[in-house]
């Protein structure tokens, strides 16, 4: 290579032109590359990116509806919405959530359980939605937080409406309560309807009429900027508040029944026999439904659950009791309808009954016996021997058939969930359950409402109403009508589902006997029959919890309270034109005539005095 070379101007110019051309081509190609990319983004990808841009700026926030109110038959509020202050967090606006929670606990008292519940709620909400942390702040806590608020970005106090039950335990089982939506409910709920809702009806009317009470969630489309600040409302569809629900329950009757049970646990049901409107549905003890609204603590809940009095247990719908002697009017009617007995024919009651060829004595509650009794006096005095004999002559198959027409062994179909069917035994049932044949002795004790036979207080009222209605079968219900946007509409047709064809003469015999129970000189509930200008038809019952051994005597004082007999009473009034049917079960209260019947009388009296037909 030469050490020195002369510049060649022509060559340089040619080279340079060459390079300029190359540059022009390169620049053009690269620019076309940019253009291709722009076309890809702006033409082909436009729809996709336009959607993303919209998602960026538009957030949809749910506007939860106000829950409908629940009233009793006289317009008294059983469930209302009151505003309380809650501590809420918008997760998106909090950088260090764990740290913020820690610091918040120094200002406001927050339990570990509330933190856990908050973490669960967190999963169900989007990052920009306000998630409640503590639901019920005291005024002191509100004030304490208000001072520290500048240090907690994304944390705020909000007033929200919370369910309140002014009557507390008095109607706890009927009205039920709302509680925080749990995981399994979340799966079955419509996510758009429940986007802004924190609570849902858990039991009772709150649950059964959830759809009506909840209403419809509205939505607002809100334009936001990158930091989530809401700039303006683009579109809004307001929520439709839940409908109000008017129950047939009368809070006064609830109160009378609840207080009437006194120290005893038990159940009281009152119903209008013609319409099926339930007037009182009391299960004692009740509980304070308000604690569930704010989220009951695990410990408090365990206490309620494990309490021997079982306050959470709805005895009216789920409690299964032997009906005892309250079954006798139905057995008596069966005997008449099947022609097994003549109402006037007397049998002799020596105080016990023996099946032919068997030495076992089936005892009467009255040790020395009732002497000669016909059907009416057997009901009035509640003679067991008469009904042992009758049951024996009827046989279990006819007993089962006849009682099933009165709704025993089947759910009544009330508009509340969780109802039990009770137990109406039969040969088939026993074979299936115990792989054993039916024994004649079992028929006898079925005849006096003991043994396998189990009924719920609600079934008892329904069956009594069929007697009161002279055969018409109604379905009980607690909801009377609903009010949506100021317009009320009834919820039930209130027509009998069927009508049993019963001989009116037979019915009259039985009802006369039941009137005698209250008004007759030897009636087992004659103490409540005084001073009335109408007549009550009733029947006492005493259900054994504890089986007394052969040749042993039952002495209430000797038996632990838990094993004492249940006192029962069924009634309707006025006997000739019934307007109210009642069933009372006072657990471990002893005799039906003394413990249960007075409650029924007070209910009947109050209702007939205050309600015009």
């Amino acid at each position: 290579m030469p050490a020195f070379r002369l510049k060649d101007a022509a060559l340089e110019t040619r080279l340079f032109h060459n390079r300029i051309t190359a540059t022009a081509v390169l620049v053009t190609l690269m620019t076309l590359g940019l253009v291709a990319r722009l076309i890809y983004l702006q033409v082909l990808g436009h729809e996709h990116y336009a959607m993303l841009a919209r998602d960026n700026r538009v957030k949809i926030i749910p506007l939860p509806p106000t829950r409908g109110l629940i009233y009793d038959r006289n317009g008294r509020i059983l469930a209302e919405n009151i505003s309380v202050y809650s501590l809420e967090i918008v997760p998106e606006q909090v950088d260090d959530l764990a740290g913020t929670l820690e610091k918040l606990r120094e200002v406001v008292d927050i339990s570990d359980e509330e933190i856990q519940r908050f973490q669960r709620r967190l999963k169900r909400h989007r990052r920009f939605e306000s998630v409640p942390l503590k639901l019920r702040l005291t005024e002191v806590e509100v004030a304490r937080f208000a001072v520290k608020r500048p240090f907690f970005h994304g944390v705020d106090i909000r007033a929200r409406l919370v369910r309140h039950y002014p009557y507390g335990e008095l109607v706890s089982h009927v009205v039920g309560y709302v509680g925080s939506i749990n995981e399994s409910e979340l799966k079955r709920l419509d996510p758009t309807e429940y986007r802004g809702t924190t609570h849902i009806g858990k039991v009772g009317v709150e649950r059964a009429y959830e759809t009506l009470l909840h209403g419809h969630t509205g939505y607002a489309e809100i334009e936001t900027n990158a930091v989530g600040r809401e700039l303006r409302v683009l579109k809004e569809s307001p929520p439709r508040p839940g409908g109000d629900l008017h129950l047939s329950i009368d809070i006064d009757l609830q109160d009378i029944a609840y207080r009437g049970l006194g120290e005893h646990n038990g159940a009281v049901v009152a119903m209008e026999p013609q319409t099926g409107r339930v007037l009182a549905l009391v299960s004692k003890p009740g509980f304070d439904p308000n604690v569930f609204v704010f989220g009951i603590g695990r410990k408090a809940y365990q206490e309620l659950r494990n309490s021997p009095d079982r306050p959470l247990f709805d005895r009216t719908l789920r409690g299964r009791y032997p009906p005892g002697s309250t079954i006798k009017p139905f057995i008596g009617l069966a005997g008449l309808e099947y022609g097994v007995i003549d109402a006037r024919k007397e049998i002799f009651c020596p105080g016990f009954y023996r099946l032919p060829g068997i030495s076992h004595r089936y005892r009467d509650w009255k040790k020395w016996g009732h002497g000669s009794v016909a059907l009416k006096s057997a009901i009035t005095q509640s003679c067991d021997v008469y009904f042992y004999d009758l049951a024996h002559n009827l046989g279990i198959d006819r007993l089962h058939d006849f009682l099933s027409h009165f709704g025993f062994g089947r759910r009544t179909g009330i508009d509340l969930g969780g109802e039990k069917a009770g137990l109406l035994p039969s040969r088939d049932w026993k074979r299936k359950t115990f792989h054993q044949p039916w024994y004649p002795g079992e028929t006898l004790i079925t005849g006096i409402g003991q043994g396998f036979l189990q009924v719920t207080p609600l079934q008892l009222v329904k069956a009594t109403a069929i007697l009161a209605n002279r055969g018409a079968v109604v379905t009980p219900h607690v909801a009377a009508y609903r009010v949506i946007d100021g317009k009320s509409s009834p919820l039930y047709l209130e027509e009998p589902e069927t009508r049993l064809r019963l001989n009116p003469r037979h019915l009259r015999t039985i009802i006369d006997a039941m009137v005698n129970v209250v008004h007759g000189a030897r009636g087992t509930a004659r103490r409540i029959g005084l001073g009335l200008d109408y007549r009550i038809a009733g029947k006492t019952g005493t259900a054994q919890v504890f089986t007394v051994k052969q040749d042993e005597e039952y002495r209430a004082s000797k038996v632990a309270k838990k094993l004492r007999d249940h006192a029962l009473f069924i009634a309707f009034a006025p006997a000739d034109r019934p307007r109210i049917t009642v069933a009372v079960i006072a657990e471990n209260a002893g005799h039906g005539g003394s413990a249960a019947a007075p409650i029924a009388r007070r209910l009947i009296e109050h209702y007939l005095n205050h309600q015009q037909p």
């Binding site: 340079f16 060459n18 620019t31 436009h46 993303l52």
Partner: protein, 373 residues
């Protein structure tokens, strides 16, 4: 001394433009660009009149600098270039030693009265020196010449990359390389060099700062961290894509105005344009840039000596690199590097440098010896 640059008396009368040493075609392109820039800036800053006013003042200064530089005779550029380059290198070293730290990088030099980025000067001085150096040697350059020229480019690039300022380093490298490219370096050597650079990439990778590596990784897969480091790229793409063909209209871009788009008035202003004016607006701007580049290349073709043509073409190509890197970054073709969109992005320093470059081009063009055609 190169004979081509000898002073000769003009043989033809000078036009008015030649007397004031400005190129009317290039000037009108730049003025148009500046006007568009202000309009977009107004929208990108959400109607911030103060910012737009600031930018107008800077534009005035930049155009003033351009006009001033255009008055300087090319001979002076040629003569001063080694000294200017040397001063530039010294300042870069000074920055590394005494410089102010801003945004985690040491880029600024504070002289008490003025605070400036020496790397900006180097953007001009480097191609100027390389053009002079190459013009002194027969072209195409011999390997030894080439190696030296490469060294002249590499020295400031490394110093700037050390600050670290990847964007400016790339631009300085592009400016120097462009001059070398126009000097007629053989395609074989060019190919070999590109190959060598590609081969050196893994080594370079280890030399990058964490945040620089992050940016490149993010560019390769922005969706892996949509709320963190990939946010810029994704939001810019959404802005551009949602603009569609016709755009959402001036001041109506939701991405820009609701703050989803980061840095909407500086590096990512092209996304605002594409969102509000759509594909048509973006294409129009690109065409305007191409027109300015075409004019620059034409001016280079008309230059009468090697120094002038190399410098003129080199500066023009650098201008294109600005546009390409910025737009490529905004539309997600290139990793995020801090390169502004010429005359549109808010910011003064780089605009002044850029306009000084155009001033040099105009000077080179209007100080030609006029030969009657």
């Amino acid at each position: 001394m190169n004979s081509v640059i000898r002073h000769t008396y003009p043989a033809a009368p000078k036009s008015m433009w030649q007397r004031i040493h400005l190129d009317p075609v290039l000037l009108s392109g730049l003025v148009l660009l500046a006007g568009i820039g202000l309009a977009i800036l107004y929208s990108a800053t959400d109607g911030n009149v103060k910012l737009v006013y600031n930018q107008m003042i800077r534009m005035g200064i930049a155009f003033g600098v351009m006009t001033g530089v255009a008055q300087i005779h090319p001979r002076s550029f040629y003569r001063w270039s080694p000294y200017l380059y040397g001063i530039g290198i010294l300042l870069l070293i000074a920055v590394l030693v005494f410089g102010d730290v801003g945004k985690g990088a040491r880029r600024w030099l504070d002289l008490g009265i003025v605070r400036f980025q020496p790397s900006e000067f180097v953007k001009i001085f480097t191609p100027m020196l390389v053009a002079r150096f190459l013009a002194q040697h027969p072209l195409p350059p011999q390997p030894r010449t080439l190696a030296l020229a490469g060294l002249f480019v590499l020295l400031p690039v490394l110093l700037i990359a050390k600050q670290p300022d990847l964007g400016t380093a790339i631009l300085v490298a592009a400016a120097g390389s462009a001059v070398v490219f126009f000097s007629g370096i053989s395609w074989r050597i060019l190919g070999g060099l590109i190959g060598a650079v590609l081969a050196a990439l893994p080594v370079l990778w280890t030399q990058l700062h964490d945040y620089q590596r992050d940016r490149i990784l993010m560019f390769l897969n922005p969706e892996q961290d949509p709320l963190g480091r990939g946010y810029h790229t994704i939001q810019a793409k959404i802005a551009i894509g949602s603009g569609g063909v016709w755009g959402k209209g001036w001041m109506a871009g939701t991405q820009a105005h609701l703050e989803f788009l980061p840095e909407p008035h500086t590096d990512f202003i092209f996304a605002v344009l594409a969102e509000e004016y759509g594909l048509l607006g973006a294409l129009s701007l690109l065409i305007l840039y191409l027109a300015i580049i075409a004019r620059g290349l034409l001016m280079a073709l008309q230059a009468q000596d090697t120094f002038s043509r190399l410098l003129c073409a080199g500066l023009t190509l650098t201008f294109f690199v600005y546009v390409f890197v910025n737009v490529g970054m905004v539309i997600g073709l290139l990793p995020v590097v801090g390169v502004p969109l010429p005359l549109i992005s808010y910011g003064g320093t780089s605009m002044v440098t850029l306009m000084a470059g155009f001033g040099i081009m105009m000077s080179l063009h209007t100080h030609r010896k006029l030969v009657p055609s």
